[in-house]
Symmetry: C2
Subunit: 353 residues, 2 copies
Amino acid sequence: MTPVSARPTLATVAARAGVSPSTASLAFSGSPRVAPPTRERVLTAAAELGYAGPDPIAASLRRGRSGVIGAFVGERLLYAFRDPVAIQLLDGITEVLGAHDVGLLLLAGDTGRPSVAQIARIPLDAAIFATCGLEDDPALDLLLARGVPVVAVEGPVVDGVVLVDVDDRAGTADLARHLHGLGHRRVEIVAMPLRLDGRRGPVDAARRARAHYRDVRHRLEGVEEVFGPVPAFETASNAVDEGVHAGRVLLDVPPARRPTAVLAQSDVLAAGVLQAAAQLGLDVPGDVSVAGFDGADLHWLGATRLTTVVQPTDEKGRRAAQAAMDLVDGTRPADTVLPVALRIGTTTGPPAR
Amino acid sequence: MTPVSARPTLATVAARAGVSPSTASLAFSGSPRVAPPTRERVLTAAAELGYAGPDPIAASLRRGRSGVIGAFVGERLLYAFRDPVAIQLLDGITEVLGAHDVGLLLLAGDTGRPSVAQIARIPLDAAIFATCGLEDDPALDLLLARGVPVVAVEGPVVDGVVLVDVDDRAGTADLARHLHGLGHRRVEIVAMPLRLDGRRGPVDAARRARAHYRDVRHRLEGVEEVFGPVPAFETASNAVDEGVHAGRVLLDVPPARRPTAVLAQSDVLAAGVLQAAAQLGLDVPGDVSVAGFDGADLHWLGATRLTTVVQPTDEKGRRAAQAAMDLVDGTRPADTVLPVALRIGTTTGPPAR
DNA sequence: AGCTCCCATCGAATCGATTCGATACGCGGG
DNA sequence: CCCGCGTATCGAATCGATTCGATGGGAGCT
């Protein structure tokens, strides 16, 4: 009669243990309101029936939360995770979420399929925009319409979204001052993508006006705070080979037109520029100084210590996750701006001549 | 009277549109059984009320599935994602899941906190063991007890778990034959961790008997198929610096005792061995041949073309995801073994003398 | 011995949507 | 003119657990 395949429910277990479903529920949740012998009886009955605990879906419905928090990363995973900063950020996020037994769901901006359909179908308690700050993202609209709390790391800046930010502008300005102090006057920037349309090349005013990403904008502004207008070369993605490409474009020119310092907007791009310099037989920092941003752990740089602006990436992740947890709990944390610190390495020095 | 904050439900919308909740549900699911004008009326009412669509949690309960599939990666994210193969695998997985509007939840074997508590709380339709094949993982037991379908990539091999495998052994044997054919007789192996206990050093029989990972075992066996017993040096994690360390241990010895070829069990480790060789002033493949496994995209290798065994990592991910989807749909796909291909690069050649 | 208080357990409502079988209505054919 | 059939909509059961307020019984105190 009773089909073997039918998975037992809490009610089944309760019946076998001779208690009401409510008591069985209390027993499983470890409430002190249930007497130890009773709990024992329930647990035994469960074991006998092969019941592994309350169904998470049903519990989610009743509790009103699913225990899942979504993290949006731009592009597809394959590219997003080439970026060590993205990984470290996610690591910081999981650290906090894991401590709350909350899971992290990855939402990749898979160009092919908008993740909007996923959001409509997947139960999310909150969402973190980890590496993609688009104010006009349709996914963002949907989340807000649904009343799903949203945390944004470095943007988008929208009403009702908690912002976890880093002082990109001040950090880059510090770095720029360092280079200015060394005597550099002809510097150029290797910029991360202003939008994800695969474009690369010099950044003009029109392009800049259509920039998507706050951090990129702020890192441009920080340099200009010190040097005034500075030529910037945009890369198609934040990857080493893009840095190499940009580096060759900027450095493979007659020495008179060559910048004495290149500020890359990320350590990954800086690593590429270093490679380009090496390929062109240029000495760093003798012929050209190179600086990055992030303070990432680039094991493949070897002994070279890159001059960079260190941002607390893992702390950023932890803050974002904590903010998300707070929002789920109904409190609204304040926006945060984390400080950064200039770290001078061996890749910057006084300009030649 | 009506609190503004109360989010409208399907019933509210239905009432406003003058239809029953069932019809409203049909309208949202896009069923052809509802007349277009009616659907229109429902959608309008929803828009007016700020209703963004059916609650995913409630829908999950009724449907019996949550639209979330969990992927287990060993260690914590920060280390797991240093491995380009893991990332590519995950990318393949998301490609398929995304096409089905299913989300990928990351479960990291955060040593501190077992993910068991997460599994108990998070609604999962299926789970994929992506990079950690432990037969005795308590998480695995819990999933099976819950009746959650499980797919294992390269293990664990357990009843009721669908296996997506790669022919590690045959691939490594091919590679070994290549080296044997070149004349190598004194080869050594740089092995990936046999278990995740941070140990590194020579592998002895006792250690080997306690090996956790099938792929590691198979890659050892493939070499032995050709060369017989071969010394192996175990690394603490699959990372470049571990490869460097192992490389120095194996290569920084008197030439007479130095292996003429080093087989690393992954491209990442091989990259480390190449670095070690360079540091020691050894020519590759003049003084020592180096080979890897994976066919990974290691941008930081530069022009060096590593001899390796190419495995279809993205296809492995897609297969695993497809298997998971099939299981969710109630069909049980067969186990798979994917083929690999030897790719000869510039890092192997005949031994000196 | 009687009264009170407290602790363990229970009942019942609720979370919000989905889905199947039933119903009502309108139209065409005999 | 009536019957039958098809289509659009509706009712009600169901998914499985949680939780709050209520109840009953036993222990402690006077």
